[in-house]
Structures are given as C-alpha cells and as structure tokens.
C-alpha cells in the first residue's frame, strides 16, 4: 500500500457520531436561522424604540426647560435619532461573507468585514458617544448657570458631569480599545490561517 492510499484510507475510516440527522437536522437548522433572524429583529426594534422613547422624553424636557438646558436636551434627543439612523444606514453590512466563493475571495470578504467593523468601532466616539455627551455637557452647563443665578450650587451639578464622563470614557474604551483588539486578534488569526492561493505557488 502506498502512502497516499494509506492516508486516504485512514482519513475515510474516521468514526463519527452525529447527533442530529435528517428531519431532526432540518428542524435544528430552521431553529438556528429563525433564532438569528429574530435576534436581529428584536435588536433593531429595541434600538428604534429606545431612540424614540429617549427623543420623546428629552423633547418633553426641552419644552419645559430654558436657555442652555433646553439646547442640551434638544441635542441629546437629536443624538438618539441620529445614532439609530447611523446604525441602520452604515452599521449593518451583510451578516456573513458569502461562503459560495473560492478561498481567496472568501478571505478577502471576511477581511473586509473585519475592517468595516473595526472602522465602525473606531469611529464610535464621533457618531455614538460625542453627540449625546456634548448634549449632556450643554445641559449641565445650563443647569449650573441657572443654579448660580439663584445662588445655589449643589454638589450634584459637579458630580453628575464627572459620572457621565466616566461612563462615556468606559463606553469609548469598551468599543475602541477592547472590541477592536478582539477583532484585530481574530483578523490576524484569519490571516495566518488562510494564506491565500496567490501567495505561494498558485
């Protein structure tokens, strides 16, 4: 027996223990697909609902407030709508790269997907964090001025900006540092795993 046949024989003689088969597998596949579709639908609905609720609430507050505080509330309300618009318009590419292509093309598609996600996360500070943060700063400044006018400067006026600054800084770290690092690791893993057909002897 030559080496090649032995390898093939060894390979094909692998024992396997399949859990799901036939109709059972169809049900499982349908369940997984539906679960995925439903998860996306729920996420989109939650985001839109949250944006509408935040915008409505802040608009109501803006109506009651005056001066800088009103401007702050309007900016936050607009930010909520803007974030959902941005997510729906630019944030969602195809869920997965189309696997019906050769390895090199598939690798390119996967890398593009990683790059798009990394770009999106790296720009989070501009389209996701900064607009509501600026709105909150304006609102806080307005409140501080109003309180100063009546001769009251409660500690909350100073503590609240510190709290949400820390919150937004954490959001920035989570997206731009932590998540980007994870995606970069996966990307480099893909690069080292899938050396393209053009790189050596194609």
């Amino acid at each position: 027996m030559n080496g090649r046949d032995e390898l093939r024989e060894l390979w094909c003689s692998q024992p396997y223990a399949g859990v799901a088969k036939g109709e059972e597998l169809v049900k499982l596949v349908a369940k997984r697909t539906q679960h995925f579709d439903r998860a996306i639908l729920v996420r989109n609905m939650l985001e839109c609902t949250a944006a509408v609720v935040v915008a409505a609430l802040l608009t109501q507050l803006a109506v009651r407030a005056h001066g800088l505080q009103r401007a702050g509330f309007i900016v936050i309300a607009a930010s909520a709508v803007w974030i959902v618009y941005y997510l729906l318009r630019y944030g969602r590419g195809p869920a997965n790269a189309d696997p019906d292509q050769d390895l090199n093309a598939f690798k390119r598609a996967l890398l593009e997907r990683y790059d798009r996600q990394i770009r999106l996360l790296k720009s989070v500070k501009y389209w996701y964090l900064l607009p509501p943060y600026i709105g909150l700063l304006i609102e806080s400044a307005g409140k501080l001025l109003n309180d100063a006018k009546v001769g009251q400067l409660p500690w909350r006026d100073f503590l609240l900006p510190l709290f949400y600054t820390a919150f937004f800084a954490f959001g920035w770290w989570l997206n731009e540092v932590h998540a980007v690092a994870r995606l970069r690791t996966e990307r480099s893993r893909l690069l080292s795993l899938a050396d393209g057909p053009n790189d050596s002897d194609a």
Binding site: G3, R4, L7, R8, L10, W11, C12, S13, Q14, P15, Y16, A17, G18, V19, A20, K21, G22, E23, L25, V26, L28, V29, A30, R32, T33, N96, A97, P99, D100, Q101, D102, L103, N104, A105, F106, K107, L110, E186, R189, L190, S192, L193, A194, D195, G196, P197, D201, A202
Partner: protein, 198 residues
C-alpha cells in the same frame, strides 16, 4: 413532457400565487437539503474534524455548515458541480468558524479526544494502532494552513484536480505541486510524532 401551447396560454403565470410558489421553493429546498445531508453527512463530519479539535465543537461546526448550506441552496445556480459547491461552502464556513473557535481549540489541544476513541471502539491491538495513526493524521492536518488543509482534505475525500481547482481557486499545476509537498510533509509529521511517542 411539455404542455401544448393552447393549454399553456390558458394558464397564466398569475394563476400560481406567490405563497404557492414559496411553498414549492421551500419544499424543493427541504428535499435538496435532506438529500445533500444524507449523501455528504460523513464527509462533512470528517471535514469538521479536520478543522476543530473537540467533539462538541465538531458537532457545532457541522451544524453551522448545515445552516450555511440551507441558506445557500436557493442561490445555487448550477455554475459549478453540486459536490464542489458544497465543499466550497463547507470549507469556507469551517475556516471562518475555526477562527472564532481557536482559543477554545488551543486550550483543549492537550486533552485526549474522547470523541474518536469512544466512538471507534478499539477492540484489538491493530485497531488501537490504527486509531493512533488516525489521530496523528488529524493532528498533522489541523496543523496545516487553511489553503493546504483545504487541498489535502479535498484530495483525501477523493476529489480530482479539476474539482479541487473549482473549490480552492488554485490552478491544477499548483494543486499538483502542493499535494506532492503536502503528502510528503504529512508522512514526515506522522513519522516524527510516531517516533516521539515511542
């Protein structure tokens, strides 16, 4: 058999409603899927074993491939043969999934593979030796880079050069060169591990 022209005219396209068309499509997809799985189940499970270490991961990968096939069936145009189309999808899904499963795989690399041993049921010394050799082959294959792994796995599954070309996008001469190099490399790797274990 084709319908006579008059009869075809009397049955306009609108007569087949959209939901009915969808039902036919779904039934076709369902039947095609069942046929493909029945035909390629062992091959797809072997393929999963070539990409991930742990038994649970293999089942998970197999199911991911099944989902990928289910989603791809309506898009199949018949440009390539069904077999090469299926392998292309399966390998690509395996590559993208194994990128995510890498950390878990590395952690469990040193653990004995209960999946193979338990299901193989070695009852003789020869069978035991065979199982060990198979483990060595799997280990050697999992150590290859994706494109090499793909070429070797397709070759071991019995695809010819033109079919491997359709799946991988490599030229036939490149496949031949790679395969002879890889066969030599695999034998060497297996031998070196065998001697190390002795």
């Amino acid at each position: 058999m084709r319908l006579p022209l008059r009869k075809r005219k009397s049955m306009p396209a609108e007569a087949i409603t959209q939901p009915a068309r969808e039902q036919v499509k779904d039934a076709n997809r369902h039947d095609t899927f069942l046929r493909l799985i029945a035909q390629y189940d062992p091959a797809l499970r072997r393929l999963a074993a070539g990409y991930v270490w742990h038994g649970a991961d293999r089942e998970d990968l197999f199911q991911e491939i099944a989902v990928g096939l289910w989603q791809a069936i309506p898009k199949f145009r018949g440009d390539a043969s069904e077999r090469t189309w299926l392998y292309r999808i399966a390998h690509n899904i395996a590559i993208s999934s194994s990128t995510r499963l890498h950390h878990r795989a590395r952690r469990e690399k040193t653990m004995p593979d209960a999946f193979d041993r338990a299901s193989g049921g070695p009852d003789s010394e020869q069978e035991l030796l065979r199982n060990e050799k198979r483990e060595l082959l799997l280990e050697a294959i999992r150590g290859l880079r994706a494109v090499d792994r793909q070429v070797v796995l397709l070759h071991l599954e019995g695809l010819d050069y033109s079919e491997i070309e359709e799946v991988s996008g490599l030229s036939q001469s490149a496949i031949a060169t790679r395969l002879s190099r890889l066969r030599y490399k695999l034998r060497k790797l297996m031998q070196s591990r065998e001697t190390r274990e002795l």
